[in-house]
């Protein structure tokens, strides 16, 4: 526990000291809301205002970005630089190290989600008509699932260049296709098919349904199964492929 606390503290310190990352983490959700919110001002999607629709989609986007680009690529870089190897020469458990990194990624996701929600509500009068507590729980589960996938991606990538390219290749289409910015129903069948193969689609569906449409979380069985399946699969890959150097 002592090691976990120190490691989380260190991750936070390192994050705060890296101005470019801090800037990106804040600017990304702000720009997304301003740009798409302004473009679709007053629009209605699936029976709710576009700005409300964008809350769930935008949270999906930041989760994907934080998990793959911030966590996955950064971990790969630390491995390549040799920082991980020095940690491997101590009794720190792999699970503690990765747990601290997931905690940090989750914190970043919460900050970004907070910005997303606040701006949409303040500027474009978005409304959260569903269950906020469940929204919070789903956000937490989503952060955990995707952070684990980000770590698994690092494990199967040979080096930082590969990890970075793979992160972009996975994260980029997910950020646009998974019902994040546009409703799935409005997309051509080919893209819809592609979206149904991407896990972020299910998280955004679940989040939107529960937080904005006011549905019961238990009416989304398929979404829960996909997300937990991804967590299990990614968790196993992450453990099996983890290496210090």
């Amino acid at each position: 526990m002592k090691a976990f606390r120190h490691q989380v503290g260190t991750e936070l310190t390192l994050f705060i000291r890296d101005r470019s990352v801090v800037t990106f983490v804040i600017v990304f959700p702000v720009l997304t809301v301003l740009f798409f919110g302004y473009l679709n001002q007053g629009g209605q999607v699936e029976g709710i205002s576009y700005s409300s629709f964008l809350i769930a989609g935008g949270i999906g986007m930041v989760i994907s970005s934080a998990a793959f680009e911030n966590l996955g690529v950064a971990l790969s870089r630390q491995r390549e630089e040799g920082i991980l190897k020095r940690i491997g020469a101590t009794p720190l458990r792999i699970a503690t190290l990765l747990g601290a990194k997931i905690a940090m990624a989750t914190l970043i996701i919460f900050v970004q989600a907070g910005i997303m929600i606040a701006l949409n509500m303040l500027l474009f009068r978005a409304q959260i008509s569903g269950n906020l507590l469940w929204g919070f729980i789903i956000l937490l589960v989503g952060a955990l699932v995707f952070a684990t996938m980000g770590i698994a991606l690092t494990g199967i990538s040979r080096n930082t260049n590969v990890a970075s390219a793979a992160a972009r290749a996975i994260s980029f289409p997910m950020q646009f296709l998974c019902g994040t910015l546009f409703p799935l129903a409005a997309m051509p069948p080919v893209l819809r098919g592609l979206a149904s193969a991407l896990p972020l689609t299910y998280l955004v569906n679940l989040l939107r349904g529960v937080m904005l449409f006011g549905d019961s979380p238990w009416s989304y069985t398929k979404e829960w199964i996909v997300l937990l399946g991804c967590l299990l699969g990614a968790g196993m890959i992450a453990i099996k492929t983890f290496r210090w150097e």
Partner: protein, 305 residues
């Protein structure tokens, strides 16, 4: 007591036999060195002992533990200095030490360690602001943060300035005095001779000799060189006729090199001769056999070719 036990260790990388069937033991309280050129198998061996890699064949036991199966328990009790260490550049020195201290069940106060290496004033400096020598000192004290029984030092002074190198040698000496066992690798002859109680000379994945530096040098059967100058010329026949002297070379006027199997009796007879004949010896310099000579004799090559 045996601290490290290695029996018929083998490790291959594809077709390359990095370590090809080596056996040795390290006893409690000794400084044991692996001396050899780059690529001889030193790092592969030390990293198997540290638990980073699994051997292909052979038995390995460190502090009675299996480095693979008991990895975390082993890490609690050993200190590791990797050949190259990268640290979090954006942490302060004190933060880094406290972070590493948190990884262990028990840890030394980071301040004590900083005082030992004379960097207590740098506690709030960022790692990226340290000079190369200061950085390597910090890397060194990280190995001591859990007060380990056993230290693994992989090329601890490679690329360092002479002052930092001597400082690290002194701290290794201090560790030995405190009863710690040290396993180190090096390709510096002087380091092995100065620090090690026993040295294994390793080449192409084999241990080709293992003994105390003194015995290794004695067994190499290399002659000592005694160099001196005098004010006037001497009769080289007289020098040559001294007991135990095998050869005499005169370099210009009054400068001589004597070759002898053993330095001490040859020096005694040289001094006796000087008193008898009334000449004064100036600039006396005795150079014994070195581990480099041993390596050359065994392999026909220099360690750093």
């Amino acid at each position: 007591m045996t601290v490290i036990h290695v029996q018929d260790l083998q490790k291959h990388y594809g077709e390359v036999k990095a370590v090809d069937g080596i056996s040795f033991q390290v006893h409690q309280g000794e400084v044991f060195g692996f001396l050899g050129p780059n690529g001889a198998g030193k790092t592969t061996t030390i990293e198997i002992l540290e638990g980073f890699h699994r051997q292909d064949r052979g038995e390995v036991s460190v502090l009675g533990l299996d480095p693979q199966a008991d990895r975390y328990e082993l890490q609690e009790r050993i200190g590791i200095m990797l050949q190259e260490t990268e640290l979090y550049q954006d942490l302060r020195v004190g933060e880094l030490l406290r972070l590493f201290a948190s990884y262990y069940r028990g840890a030394v106060d980071p301040k004590t360690l900083l005082e030992m290496i004379g960097l207590e004033a740098k506690e709030r400096a960022f790692i990226r602001e340290l000079s190369g020598g200061q950085r390597q000192r910090v890397v060194f004290i990280l190995t001591l943060i859990n007060d380990p029984d056993l230290l693994f030092l992989d090329e601890p002074t490679a690329g360092l300035d002479p002052q930092s190198r001597r400082a690290i040698w002194n701290w290794i000496d201090r560790g030995r005095q405190e009863g710690k066992t040290v396993f180190l690798t090096t390709h510096y002859i002087e380091e092995a001779e100065r620090l090690c109680d026993r040295v294994a000379i390793i080449d192409h994945g084999h241990i080709i000799a293992l003994d105390t530096p003194k015995s290794l040098m004695a067994s190499a059967n290399v002659e000592n060189r005694i160099e001196f100058t005098t004010e006037g010329s001497l009769n080289t026949d007289k020098l040559q006729s001294m007991p135990l002297i095998t050869n005499v070379v005169e370099h210009g006027r009054g400068a001589y090199t004597l070759f002898a199997q053993e330095a001490e009796p040859a020096l005694k007879s040289l001094i006796a001769l000087s008193e008898e004949n009334g000449f004064r010896i100036r600039g006396l310099h005795v150079e014994g056999a070195s581990l480099e000579d041993v390596f050359i004799q065994l392999t026909g090559r220099r360690i750093r070719a």
